[in-house]
Each structure stands twice: as structure tokens, then as C-alpha cells.
């Protein structure tokens, strides 16, 4: 059986990609951003997932205004980097996992999520930047360490899917993955955000308080985030900050209780607050090792509170 072992949230600021491509990662401005992902790359090397599902959005690169699918799943065998106007990014063509992807499509559609299926698809910085942040820089003729399944979400034209819908889609994806017969360890990325507005006279908006609250609740109380209406994202986190709903697809695909193993936040990268989080499903760890520790902890907690009460 395939299973989802962890979720990763990461911003996908295009300028981060440009910094990688132009060798600027050691410049002080950019170093501040990249050091935040050193531990994550270490984590990824140790975790060695078999497949990564990447929830992202296209930015007028591969998708235009001719067709605007709300959820589009990449079922192709490979995904070349898109030409964003000045040639494609010098990153490898990403290998897909058509068997798992089409299984997810079939399962989700029967689960009442009417996904658009893309058998030919190019991926832009929305997807390749988070891949770089987690997998490191890989030369154009190299290989990404694992196959990927892109899930493109419309967050460009209002209205994007609601946070609740995104979360429930995550649930459906998890169910689909768990009904796939091969023994695969899958990670899921939610990308975009955090707070930023890049359009109009209010451009430059950043709301760190909102972002921190979002990250806290993502780990501990996603049910609260699921209720946040679009207007609140746009008012508080910027017109383009609404991308954050994509993180809820990732969160929906995880256990209710997760372990936050890493978090990073910095302002700014170009016009955007950079957020990053790694959440692990508890079942990922050996159940045998885990249980006594938990029991022990509970006993210790009980003892502590008993002492407190007796005071």
C-alpha cells in the first residue's frame, strides 16, 4: 500500500529561482533565504520519498486565460519546465508517475472531486522553485531525485477553490494514495504564499502576524484555517496571498495530528514573505518505538498535573 508520510509547505517566489539560476545564492540578501532550507534538504535526503505530489499554481506560463481549470492533475510521463518568456529554467525535465497519478484521478473523481486531467503539461517556477528548495540545485541534464505529480490549482482568477474544498481534496488524495497497491512512500507539497500582494497601489503588503498564525494553526488546528473566507486572506495577506489555500490541500492529506519537524520564515524575498514548514505523519515512525514513549509521556504529564493540583 502507498502512503503519505509527510507534508511540506514552501513559498515559490520566482526570484528565488532566478537567484539559483544566476548563481546568487551566496549573496547576503539571498543567503538569508537559502540557509533556511539547508536542514530541509538534509531531511529530504534522509526521507528519500518514492513520489512527490506538488500542489502549485501556474503563473500565466503554461496555462493562459483560454482555459482556467480549478484543479488540474498532471498524469503525464514527464513535465518539462515552461518557457516563462525568456527561455525555460535550466532545471531537469521532471519525471511523472502516470500510474499513481491516473489512480488518484480516478479515485478522486469518483469521490466527487472533478479533476481536470493533463496528459501534456509544462511546469513553471510555481513548482520548480519549491523542488529546488527541497531537492537542491540540479543541473539541466541531471535528474530530480524522485518522480513528481503536479496538481495545479487556480488561484490566479477569483474565486479560487475555498480552503475547505482544498482541505477535502487533500483528504480524497490521501484516500486515493492509500488504495494504490504498490508500496510507495509519498510526500505532498503545498506551495505559494505566504503573505504578499504584488498588484495595485497596495503592492508590497506583508503580514507576518497572519503568517505566523497560519503556520501555527496549520500544525495544530487546521480545522480553524479551513473556515477562513477568501476575503480574510485577501485583506490580511494580500490579493496574491490567497495562494495559501493550496497549503490546505497538503494539510488535508495528512493525519489530524502531525509533528512539526521544521519551520522557517523570513521577509522578504523580492515582494513576498517566505514561509516553510515540514509536517510528518506520526504513523511514519515505528509504532513499536513510539507507543511506550507516548504512554510514558502521558504518565509523566499526569504526575505533573497531580503535583500541580495538590499544591
Amino acid at each position: 500500500m502507498a502512503r503519505i508520510i509527510a507534508g511540506i509547505g514552501a513559498s515559490h517566489v520566482p526570484a528565488i529561482g532566478a537567484a539559483i539560476d544566476n548563481g546568487k545564492t551566496e549573496e547576503p540578501y539571498w543567503k538569508r533565504v537559502f540557509v533556511g532550507f539547508e536542514k530541509s534538504q538534509q531531511w529530504m535526503r534522509e526521507t528519500k520519498p518514492d513520489v512527490a505530489i506538488v500542489v502549485y499554481n501556474d503563473h500565466a506560463s503554461a496555462f493562459s486565460v483560454e482555459m482556467i481549470p480549478t484543479f488540474a492533475l498532471g498524469c503525464a510521463a514527464e513535465f518539462p519546465p515552461a518557457d516563462e518568456g525568456w527561455g525555460p529554467r535550466p532545471v531537469p525535465v521532471a519525471e511523472g508517475h502516470p500510474a499513481l497519478a491516473s489512480h488518484i484521478a480516478q479515485s478522486c473523481i469518483l469521490d466527487e472531486f472533478d479533476l481536470t486531467i493533463c496528459n501534456k503539461m509544462e511546469i513553471d517556477h510555481g513548482m520548480t522553485v519549491p523542488m529546488n528548495l527541497l531537492f537542491g540545485k540540479i543541473e539541466k541534464h541531471g535528474h530530480w531525485p524522485c518522480p513528481v505529480i503536479p496538481l495545479a490549482v487556480n488561484v490566479v482568477m477569483y474565486p479560487p477553490p475555498t480552503g475547505h474544498r482544498c482541505y477535502m481534496l487533500g483528504r480524497a488524495i490521501r484516500k486515493a494514495v492509500e488504495s494504490f497497491p504498490d508500496d510507495l512512500r509519498v510526500v505532498i507539497f503545498g506551495t505559494g504564499g505566504l503573505s504578499h500582494q504584488i498588484s495595485g497601489p497596495r503592492a508590497g503588503l506583508i503580514n507576518s502576524k497572519w503568517d505566523k498564525n497560519f503556520l501555527d494553526n496549520l500544525t495544530k488546528d487546521p480545522q480553524k484555517l479551513v473556515k477562513v473566507p477568501h476575503i480574510d486572506y485577501m485583506r490580511e495577506a494580500g490579493a496574491e496571498g490567497i495562494e495559501m489555500v493550496m497549503w490546505l490541500v497538503m494539510r488535508g492529506a495528512l493525519d489530524d495530528k502531525v509533528d512539526e519537524v521544521y519551520r522557517f520564515y523570513t521577509v522578504p524575498a523580492s515582494n513576498t514573505a517566505v514561509g516553510h514548514i515540514i509536517l510528518e505523519n506520526r504513523a511514519r515512525k515505528s509504532a513499536v518505538k513510539r507507543k511506550p514513549a507516548t504512554k510514558h509521556k502521558r504518565a509523566a504529564a499526569r504526575a505533573r498535573s497531580a503535583v500541580r493540583r495538590s499544591r
Binding site: 503563473h59 483560454e66 521577509v267
Partner: protein, 171 residues
């Protein structure tokens, strides 16, 4: 036809690219999309007004493109990811474009970003709806509620007589 009023029209300095603007701005966005190709960038630069005729823009939209009025383009249905391609075709960085839209110099805009960006305070609403989102305040008030508790605990050690009746009441 006048624009149907939406809750998000209350956000200052913001033109949300919604279904209505998407419909009205189709020509603007398809024009901008065409600038992804170098030959089209050259054709546009050679004769802008002529090139624009291919895209069935309204006179206002054509005017906004020719004048590079980026805010007006957003208002008339352009989307930022598309209009940014026009800026790029002019050889401008995105930050230049952002500065233009905010009416600041690029240097001022850049230092605002380095300083943590534009604050949301005073920038939430055109009509005075300046209270933070209840999803923010709920967490904040929880924290606020939690803090005095912790303080009360430390106080118990100092002024036992005062704090004790309180906690006794609770139980």
C-alpha cells in the same frame, strides 16, 4: 453595465482579478501572453498601436497599454501575472513595476520591502473595517487569555493570599 459590487472591492489599492474582470480583460491578457515570444515582442515594439489591433481591446484598454498605466490595466481586467510580461518586454524588473503601481520610487519601494513590507494596519479597508480578521484575533485572544494565567501562577508564590481564592473558585 456597472460593476457588480463585491465584498473585496472594499480592500484599498486592490483590483481583484475576478470572473467579471477576466471576461472584460481577455484581450489584454491574451496580448500580454503573446509577449512571451520574442518575435511578438519585436512586432509590438515596432508598432504598438498596430500590433494591439489584433486583440480586440476597448479604446480605454488600448490607451492604458500605450500609456503603461498598470493600475488602470488591472482595473480594466488585466491580471498582474500577465501585465508583468508587458513590463518585462519593456526591460523592467518586476520591482520596478511594483514601485510604479504604488507610486513610489523603486528605491523607496525596495527599502520598504527590506524593512518588512507594507503594514496591513490602516490598509485593510476603504470603509473603516480595520479590525483584524477574527481568525487572527481568536488566536490572539487565546494567547492573551493564556498569559495572565501564567502570570497568576508566578504571583501565587509571591502573594499567596491574594491569588489562592481565585484558583479555588475555579475549582
Amino acid at each position: 453595465m456597472a460593476r457588480e459590487q463585491q465584498d473585496y472591492d472594499d480592500i484599498p489599492g486592490t483590483f481583484v482579478f475576478d470572473a467579471e474582470r477576466s471576461r472584460q480583460g481577455y484581450g489584454i491578457n491574451m496580448f500580454c501572453m503573446s509577449l512571451m515570444k520574442d518575435e511578438n515582442r519585436k512586432a509590438f515594439k515596432a508598432n504598438e498601436a498596430e500590433y494591439l489591433k489584433k486583440f480586440k481591446l476597448t479604446p480605454e484598454q488600448t490607451d492604458a497599454v500605450l500609456k503603461r498605466d498598470y493600475n488602470r490595466l488591472l482595473e480594466l481586467g488585466g491580471n498582474i501575472y500577465f501585465t508583468a510580461k508587458l513590463g518585462a518586454a519593456d526591460g523592467h524588473s518586476f520591482q520596478h513595476l511594483a514601485a510604479v503601481m504604488t507610486g513610489a520610487s523603486q528605491q523607496d519601494y525596495a527599502s520598504m520591502m527590506l524593512g518588512g513590507g507594507r503594514s496591513v494596519e490602516g490598509n485593510r479597508s476603504r470603509t473603516g473595517k480595520n479590525a483584524p480578521s477574527k481568525f487572527l484575533s481568536a488566536a490572539a485572544s487565546k494567547k492573551a487569555a493564556a498569559k495572565p494565567k501564567a502570570k497568576a501562577k508566578t504571583k501565587t508564590t509571591k502573594t499567596k493570599t491574594k491569588a489562592k481564592p481565585k484558583s479555588a473558585k475555579r475549582k
